[in-house]
């Protein structure tokens, strides 16, 4: 009879969770490696147009320019006209040169003359705004640009 009394009240033993931290750490390291810290707070709408003939952007030597309508949060304050954003704030077209020079100086010195301007422009923007930006870039002699797009086929939608 004593044989059967050895079992304690029928409790289920606790599940061993010792490897759970390891799994989470693995996930953590994965995210640390493949992502970068978000450095810009987007103030404009930014749905990129689609294209399929793409080249990769060299991140270390690029300066970002965002353009588009102010996002819904900022609509009351800034209206609905297309706007340019460099860094964290809206920039006027006459101020683009100054803001870009500043952004260029933040890069590593050996890359400063190889700088590539990445244009992240919302697909609903008019081309006129982009042309204005490009004219400013030509004045500054920053001639390498890249239109950032989303992958996809633009024709058969």
């Amino acid at each position: 009879m004593s044989k059967f009394k050895k079992k304690k009240g029928g409790e289920i033993p606790a599940v061993n969770t010792a490897s759970l931290p390891d799994i989470v750490f693995m996930l953590l390291f994965f995210f640390m490696v493949v992502t970068v810290l978000r450095d810009n707070n987007l103030l404009v709408q930014n749905t990129l147009p689609k294209a399929d003939q793409l080249e990769k952007l060299k991140k270390d030597r690029s300066v970002y320019i965002y353009a588009g309508k102010p996002s819904s949060r900022y609509k009351d304050k800034y209206g609905t006209e297309g706007k340019i954003q460099i860094g964290d704030k809206f920039t006027d077209i006459s101020n683009v040169k100054f803001a870009l020079t500043e952004a260029r100086e933040a890069l590593r010195p050996e890359l400063q003359d190889k700088v590539m301007v990445a244009l992240k422009v919302d697909e609903e923007t008019n081309t006129g705004l982009v042309t204005d930006i490009k004219q400013q870039l030509r004045d500054l002699n920053m001639l390498k640009i890249i239109y950032i797009t989303a992958p996809g086929n633009p024709v058969n939608q």
């Binding site: 640390m32 294209a51 952007l57 081309t127 640009i145 797009t149 633009p154």
Partner: protein, 206 residues
């Protein structure tokens, strides 16, 4: 002194801490996937005497404010633009025997269209009110036309595709002689040089 077994450290909260860190990284970081169409802008200087381009070597693409496409004075759908550009670039209209004769062109050899790919210039004209997505679509189709022809030639000469090799070199995953491949890429680029010119955009209504 009798040795005592060290008591086990309670690591139950380690997972929670790791989760906190994980969630922090999930929220504050982004996965960068920036790709796009690269372009070189023309320098901002007046050209003294611009080279005269024959009308037949010029392929005019204009887009109006309603995103309608006019190619060589004819309305066209965006889907047909790529094929039209390929036909124009690949035409090789210069007569056999002349110094401008294009021996690798496979086009229609129409004397009214471009002499050879080196002479052929595609000119894009926009309206200021053209939508940006249309602008990118047009640019994309024209680049696609060049890529198609470059791929065809590199396939014929070297047995690989221009865009694939270029991409693998850019990403640093090319195995083989990189300098040699780079040289071959330049040769192909010389056969079909990218000559896209952009006119100043019109203001709507002019």
């Amino acid at each position: 002194m009798a040795r005592r077994a060290t008591p086990e450290v309670n690591a139950g909260s380690m997972a929670d801490i790791a989760f906190l860190l994980l969630i922090f990284f999930l929220v504050t970081t982004t996965i960068e996937k920036d790709k796009g169409i690269a372009r070189q802008l023309p320098p901002d200087e007046e050209i003294e005497d611009p080279p005269i381009i024959k009308q037949k070597n010029l392929f005019i693409v204009s887009v109006n404010k309603d995103d309608q496409l006019l190619v060589e004075d004819e309305l066209m759908k965006v889907g047909d633009l790529r094929e039209a550009a390929i036909q124009f670039l690949d035409n090789g209209g210069a007569p056999n025997g002349s110094p401008e004769y294009c021996n690798y062109c496979k086009g229609a050899r129409d004397p009214k269209s471009s002499d050879n790919p080196e002479k052929a210039v595609i000119s894009v004209q926009n309206d200021r009110l053209t939508s940006y997505s249309m602008y990118i679509t047009v640019q994309n189709e024209l680049v696609a036309a060049y890529n198609f022809l470059r791929n065809r030639e590199s396939q014929r000469l070297f047995g690989w595709k221009f865009t694939e090799v270029k991409q693998s070199i850019d990403e640093g995953s090319f195995n083989g002689n990189e300098d040699d491949a780079q040289e071959k890429l330049e040769r192909i680029q010389k056969l079909f040089p990218l000559k896209l010119s952009e006119a100043e955009p019109k203001k709507s209504g002019q």
